[in-house]
Subunit: 249 residues, 2 copies
């Protein structure tokens, strides 16, 4: 298959998507990959209009939406420049939201949204070392470590071991602190899964994002010093506000 | 904030999104997180209609779309059951697409889509240990390891060192093989970043996904046995076809 070229504008229109949105996704992909990096200048409106075979108004709408997404910013009379990258979340055995917040000089900020009980599916039971059908406690919180980084999270616990932990979470804003009140002095990240999906309505509302903006989801199991599973967490992160990083060398 | 309850249907409608799509995203979130796991039965149409305050036709549309997304499947007269999870891609120092394909008993399947040259941004130059503005080679491929797992990828190389590598990629379908032809016998994954975004039009076309379906993007730097950066890769993965996994304990 040959690379697409002059007919790109035509194919874009065919899909009944706003053309500016497709131009935005082209530029966004280049920025997110670093092919155009922080501080770099984007091509001019004129060049972009030529490249995508659209008028400058369409290009301007795409650039305005890149700015809203925090990816690029116009400097008066100088052009449009790429903004800094979003912060990195490093996955290590010591990964904890409270650590990330400490690095950002932010206080623990978990705000309790809801708590519920349900029977553990086989999948959850296996992750937490429980029997299928055992009662689990699901605690939902919103963290606003910085105005630019809002996270919606689910934390699943063995109800028999951690009954009432939501009160400690609500009071301290921190799972690390809440676990300490239950006698867990140290714990470690064992496994992390990273996925991407559309937000649930209540996630979109809490994170102030549109229902058609994807979210990055980090799922993880933390274990205590004896290797016993403590919790299964899910962090729902608005698209573009955080990049997950793993170093393996 | 209290958990949302009976007014959920109303709020959903308010957002001018098809209500079935929001119900789909609710169920999808539960399935992807494992709260409802592989083999588990979903609530009945009647129960879901009650829970979301919608009619059964709306529920049926949501369930049909879950099936299209490969997340759940109706068994005649028995109900709707959750399908198996997508395969996991484990990030380790030995992560390579050719290894994943070997695990799946698939042959190296990279198909060359395009090759281009451009000057390295400061970001890319730093990752590859080049000077800013050095010429880089960008090779785009589509991998179809299995019919269910299509990947669009970008691989960026130092043009001076790897000029012509696209021909070896086109011939062998494998970056591992192509690098061997350039004298690189062994290489390792150094760093991986995971992000989520909307697809570019040419990615959506090659992956046969809609333009409004998000993609998971894995970006990575591989180094040779001497620690010298070899390539910067980007793998664009359709939402839901692969989950990235990191073990840290």
């Amino acid at each position: 298959m040959a690379p697409r070229g002059h007919d790109q504008g035509h194919d874009m229109a065919k899909n009944r998507f706003p053309v500016w949105r497709l131009i935005q996704s082209e530029l966004e992909a280049e920025i997110r990959s670093g092919l155009i990096g922080p501080g770099d200048q984007l091509p001019s409106e004129h060049e972009l209009a030529e490249r995508f075979k659209v008028n400058r108004h369409t290009v301007r709408t795409a650039l305005a939406n890149l700015a809203i997404a925090g990816l690029a910013r116009a400097r008066r009379g100088r052009g449009v420049f790429v903004e800094d990258k979003p912060p990195e979340y490093r996955v290590t055995r010591d990964s904890k939201w409270s650590e990330i917040e400490r690095e950002m000089n932010a206080a623990p900020s978990g705000r309790l949204v809801s708590v519920s009980e349900r029977p553990a599916s086989a999948t959850i039971a296996e992750m937490l070392g429980l029997s299928q059908g055992a009662t689990i406690l699901m605690v939902e919180t919103v963290r606003g470590s910085t105005p630019a980084l809002l996270i919606y999270s689910y934390h699943v616990f063995d109800r028999d071991r951690f009954a009432g932990i939501e009160a400690a979470v609500a009071r301290t804003g921190s799972y690390t602190e809440a676990l300490r009140e239950f006698g867990v002095e140290r714990f470690y990240r064992a496994s992390t899964w990273i996925d991407c999906r559309m937000p649930r309505p209540r996630e979109a509302e809490a994170l102030s994002i549109p229902l058609d903006a994807p979210v990055l989801v980090m799922m993880y199991v933390d274990r205590d010093a004896d290797g016993r599973p403590l919790l299964y967490g899910n962090a729902v992160i608005p698209n573009g506000s955080l990049v997950v990083r793993v170093d393996t060398l």
